[in-house]
């Protein structure tokens, strides 16, 4: 059996210093997705670079106009974070729905983005939130790019071989609210058949929806933003049954994404329930206050 080299840097600086020498590194964050791929021989690593000892990549901070989440922050930490639940509630909701308790305890947001699964719950929320991904390369250069540019397809990211995600930045929006929900095969520990996140700001005075953003997951090779659905609710009042407004648009979106697929007849119906669930969650959020 081939031996693996195993390397566990304890700081970002140490990581950068050594990366240049490491041939074909296989980064392990939480490892929950990667381990399965290794076990199935889908990935045959030679050098493992373990990131879980870089404690400086574990944080959730509120900054001026954004919240910043270290890439090695786990889904349990995100789901339980008051900051996330105040300013990016949909992300907290999706983080709390990832896998099982045991998975959430080690799976990280950075790992989830790099893995780029089409049904990844957190990515749908990050898309709707307009998240940006900060990475570092072997020269220590830091880049920041929209999440939509990092994930380019089914389990495909456009990170360089030696580029590492270090932080996720989510812009905060005054008077903003968000919600995420999913449909799987059972209540918990289930891969999304369909998921959805809505982010909007809402002016309580005139009760109208402003700046809506809507994202869907498991409706194609990668989660995506739907301008059509967002536009359909823009300016609408919540007192009006928003669900009736977006139904035809949802249907078109599903048709455009997966018409002809075996899953189409189901998803075109189920998306209505999903949208209703998401809107209900959003209303609950508005009642409670919080983004």
């Amino acid at each position: 059996m081939e031996k693996w080299a195993f390397y566990s840097p304890q700081s970002l600086r140490e990581l950068i210093e050594h990366l240049a020498e490491i041939h074909n590194p296989c980064f392990v964050a939480g490892g929950t997705d990667l381990m399965i791929k290794i076990r199935n021989y889908k990935i045959k690593p030679t050098t493992i670079v373990n990131l879980n000892r870089i404690h400086e990549m574990v944080y959730i901070r509120k900054e001026d106009e954004a919240i910043a989440i270290g890439a090695m922050t786990t889904f349990t930490q995100i789901a339980e974070s008051p900051i996330v639940n105040r300013y990016a509630r949909c992300l907290g909701q999706s983080a709390g729905n990832v896998g099982s308790k045991q998975i959430r305890n080690i799976a990280t947001i950075g790992g989830n983005i790099a893995n780029a699964a089409p049904c990844a719950d957190s990515i749908t929320s990050l898309m709707a939130l307009g998240a940006r991904v900060k990475t570092i390369n072997i020269w220590g250069e830091i880049h920041e790019k929209p999440i939509d540019d990092v994930i380019i397809g089914r389990e495909e990211n456009n990170l360089d071989e030696k580029e590492v995600i270090i932080e996720i930045r989510i812009p905060t929006l005054e008077g903003g609210y968000s919600a995420f929900s999913k449909i799987g095969s059972r209540t918990a520990v289930t891969i999304s058949k369909l998921n959805m996140a809505i982010v909007l700001s809402y002016n309580k005075a005139d009760a109208a929806i402003e700046c809506p953003k809507v994202a869907f997951g498991a409706l194609g090779p990668k989660p995506f933003i739907s301008d059509a659905v967002a536009n359909s609710i823009k300016g609408k009042k919540f007192t009006y049954p928003v669900i009736d407004v977006i139904k035809p648009v949802l249907l078109k979106e599903v048709e455009a994404s997966i018409a002809g697929r075996a899953s189409f007849p189901y998803k075109r119906e189920a998306i209505m329930g999903l949208a209703e669930n998401t809107l209900n969650l959003l209303m609950d959020g508005i009642k409670e206050g919080g983004y």
């Binding site: 059996m1 021989y41 520990v189 891969i191 007849p265 189901y266 999903l274």
Partner: protein, 754 residues
């Protein structure tokens, strides 16, 4: 029933619970022998084809690989892993490693290596070149022109049984309701995957450690497959991490024995979860067409059932499952004219086998959904219709099978109806809005062993030990359900001695007296328990006889409590069991021991009725089970806690059968659900509360009146759920599992029709 019982009817913990909660219990996968090697299997990646070439050279070259076995270098003797006694007449079509692939999961090769990691890597280095053949499913097997999976054709068996005159009954002026109902292939999902350890000596003697259900069957199958005498094979039953029928047939054992014999070292052979799903055994899929004729009063006048049973790629017990299904159809309702026909076929799909209920969940899904549809057709409450037609205690089997005994299904239904508040719930469907609710009911019958079909007897030795404890030697197999504790309670009750003082090792073919059938067919409590009770009574007689001689009194005066024997006429004359043994050995030169052979004398029906309430999301098709009530006629609960536990687990399995579990295949017969992220068993958040009511009216031949429960408890839940969904939504789901996709499809169809 008199209730001065000391240990029967008491909830005691399972005998090895302390080892289990401390992680100390060694399952076979935890075993390590000196110089042990690790075996791994290569299963086929296609569903049907011929191996043109197989190249194992790269795998053999990997450092740490001891040997690779394929059809080219291994024994080629045909066997049927379902056989558990030699005189059984069945088709032998399985070999250790095949060169003709008959399903995705067929065994191609085994690697033996110094570590499991090396063995796994070696599997990826074996190159197999297939000539693919067309995939034949169960329906395809019926087409005469299609390619034959086995040389003798694709039909495994046909059966027909009938009472009365069905064709005439169905012609009468009656309401005839026809349904075609499909049930899917299901994985047992025992948390422990299949594994075993084999060791061998240079003279060719093999010792196998296996979590098996029938140790003597393992011995027989190893002997058949390897062509070596049974006397050279010792099988030791190990701790069992769940079976549910999945470990009933020896699958790995003959291979593991072969690997050990041919490497001269101990070998542990284990399969992965994916291999357990595709390459072990499954619940047979079925498709049943039922026509039922009911009159205006709701009396069932006739019923005609025609079932296609998908046996999978090898024969195993496909025909036996079809037969078992048929028998059950005649033992639940009084139907004067009934016919059951079955066609069992080979297909290029995972192999069928025993699975909790052995055909009962399938036949009840088919018939109980149809009965509800019949009730709907004549506008009658489905509980009322059932009450008019169910069997009564001491009814005869219309096919002259074993008597039904004290079958109390009517009591179950009446008690359950009241406890569930059926009438109110049934008549108040919550059909408004997005989330609708509804209730459903189904009944079921199962058996108690093999009486009337196969030899059903057990040999047992009970002896008093030096310290006054009692040793039971027998071929018992605890599958994790509490068999050992149950036997302790029975013997303890007879001898009035605490069950902790009864010692019961599990089956070991070298030391255990023969048992004809092992832990199968819901026979353990009824037959093995019956044996334990009878044997304990014989031991008691012997103890009393010796005690009377030693205490110099009559046997009638002897009393025994917790190992102390007293002359009741002179209570100061007493002796402990331990001292009694010493005296008997010294004075009489004998042991206080009995060996008994017990043959089962009956096979009564056991009955269950399940009520469920469901809530369905009309937009997503998701079903939530809100409430379950399970009422079962089990004669008498030896250990009520165990009975509840059996019911809870059976309901969990049945909900999965109804809603989510399915081994799915693509158009080429490849399994697409070979892991737990795609094969969805019910987890804690989806498990409803389950209320358990027991009807305990006693059964003549059962130990202290007890009958079986573990299989029975899973036979009625799925149709009850489907009936609830159909009632709530006014649809007719007729294919299990009722996935959200199928529910949405049915709702769309209904909307189009309206």
């Amino acid at each position: 029933m008199k209730d001065d019982l000391k240990y029967i009817g008491k909830t005691l913990p399972i005998h090895d619970v302390r080892e289990k909660v401390t992680g100390q219990l060694r399952y076979v996968g935890d075993m390590m022998l000196h110089n042990m090697l690790y075996g791994k299997l290569l299963l086929s990646s296609i569903s049907h084809g011929i191996i043109k070439e197989i190249d194992t050279s790269k795998a053999e070259a990997l450092q740490g690989v001891i040997k690779v076995f394929t059809y080219k270098n291994s024994v080629d003797k045909k066997y049927n892993s379902y056989m558990w006694y030699k005189a059984m007449d069945t088709v032998k079509d399985e070999v250790l490693f095949t060169n003709r692939v008959r399903f995705m999961g067929d065994r191609i090769a085994a690697v033996v290596a110094t570590s499991k990691e090396i063995a796994e890597e070696a599997l990826t280095l074996i190159k197999v070149d297939y000539e693919e053949l067309p995939f034949i499913d169960a329906e395809g097997a019926l087409v005469e022109e299609n390619i034959k999976i086995h040389p003798w054709g694709n039909i495994m068996s046909k059966r027909e049984m009938e009472n009365g005159r069905v064709d005439e009954a169905l012609k009468k002026d009656l309401t005839i309701v026809e349904d075609t109902i499909e049930t899917q292939k299901v994985h047992h999902a025992a948390m422990e995957t299949h594994a075993c350890v084999a060791d061998s000596t240079p003279d060719g003697t093999i010792t196998l450690w296996s979590p098996c259900q029938v140790a003597f069957q393992v011995q027989l199958i190893v002997s058949e497959a390897l062509g070596i005498p049974t006397s050279k094979i010792r099988v030791i039953k190990t701790a069992m991490g769940g079976s549910f029928g999945g470990k009933g047939q020896p699958i790995l054992e003959p291979i593991c024995a072969y690997l050990s014999l041919n490497t001269g070292a101990p070998v542990r052979l284990e399969v992965s979860r994916a291999q357990a799903i595709i390459g072990t055994r499954t619940r047979n899929a079925t498709k049943g067409r039922v026509r039922i004729a009911v009159d205006k009063e709701g009396m069932i006048v006739g019923r005609d059932i025609d079932v296609l049973v998908d046996g999978g790629a090898y024969h195993t017990n496909g025909d036996a499952v079809a037969l078992a299904m048929g028998k059950k159809a005649f033992r639940l309702y009084r139907i004067k004219n009934q016919r059951y026909k079955s066609t069992t076929v080979y297909s290029n799909t995972p192999i069928g086998g025993a699975c909790r209920g052995y055909g009962s969940p399938q036949i009840h899904a088919i018939t109980e959904i149809n009965i509800d549809n019949a009730a709907r057709a004549i506008g009658m409450d489905p509980v009322e219709l059932r009450l008019k037609n169910l069997v009564h205690p001491y009814d005869k089997d219309p096919l002259n099978g074993p008597d039904l005994g004290n079958g109390r299904v009517i009591d179950c239904l009446e008690k359950g109806k009241k406890a569930f508040n059926w009438e109110e719930k049934f008549n108040n469907r919550g059909q408004e809005g997005r989330f609708v609710t509804g209730v459903g009911v189904a009944c079921g019958v199962h058996g108690n062993g093999y009486y009337g079909a196969h030899p059903d007897y057990m040999m047992m030795t009970l002896k008093v030990l030096e310290d006054g404890k009692i040793l039971m030697l027998s071929g018992l197999h605890d599958l994790g359900c509490g068999t050992i504790t149950t036997m302790k309670q029975i013997v303890g009750e007879v001898l009035k001695i605490h069950p902790d003082n009864i010692i019961i090792p599990e089956a070991d073919t070298f030391y255990s007296p023969y048992d004809s059938a092992g832990t199968q067919a819901s026979r353990v409590t009824f037959v093995c328990g019956g044996c334990a009770q009878e044997t304990a009574n014989l031991l008691k007689e012997k103890i009393y006889k010796y005690s009377a001689a030693i205490l110099e009194c009559t046997e009638d005066a002897i009393e025994m409590l917790e190992g102390v024997i007293t002359n009741s006429e002179k209570p100061s004359d007493r002796i402990s069991l331990s001292d009694l043994l010493s005296k008997v050995r010294y004075q009489f030169k004998r042991e206080i021991s009995v060996t008994n052979t017990y043959e089962s004398k009956a096979n009564p029906g056991v009955y269950t009725v399940n009520f469920v309430e469901v809530m369905i999301d009309k937009l997503t098709g998701m079903v939530k089970i809100l409430d379950v009530l399970s009422v079962s006629d089990i004669g008498r609960a030896i250990n009520p806690g165990f009975v509840e536990g059996q019911v809870h687990g059976a309901i969990q399995m049945g909900i999965g059968f109804a809603l989510s579990e399915e081994i799915k295949l693509d158009a080429k017969g490849r399994v697409t659900t070979a892991n737990f992220s795609k094969y969805h068993v019910i987890n804690a958040p989806d498990m409803p509360k389950v209320k358990v009511i027991l009807v305990e009216e006693g059964e003549e031949y059962g130990p202290f009146g007890a009958k079986s429960i573990g299989e029975l408890a899973t036979v009625a839940i799925a149709p009850a759920i489907i009936n609830a969904i159909n009632w709530a939504l006014d649809i007719n789901i007729s294919s299990l599992p009722a996935t959200p996709e199928k529910i949405i499809e049915a709702l769309n169809k209904k909307a189009k029709q309206a």
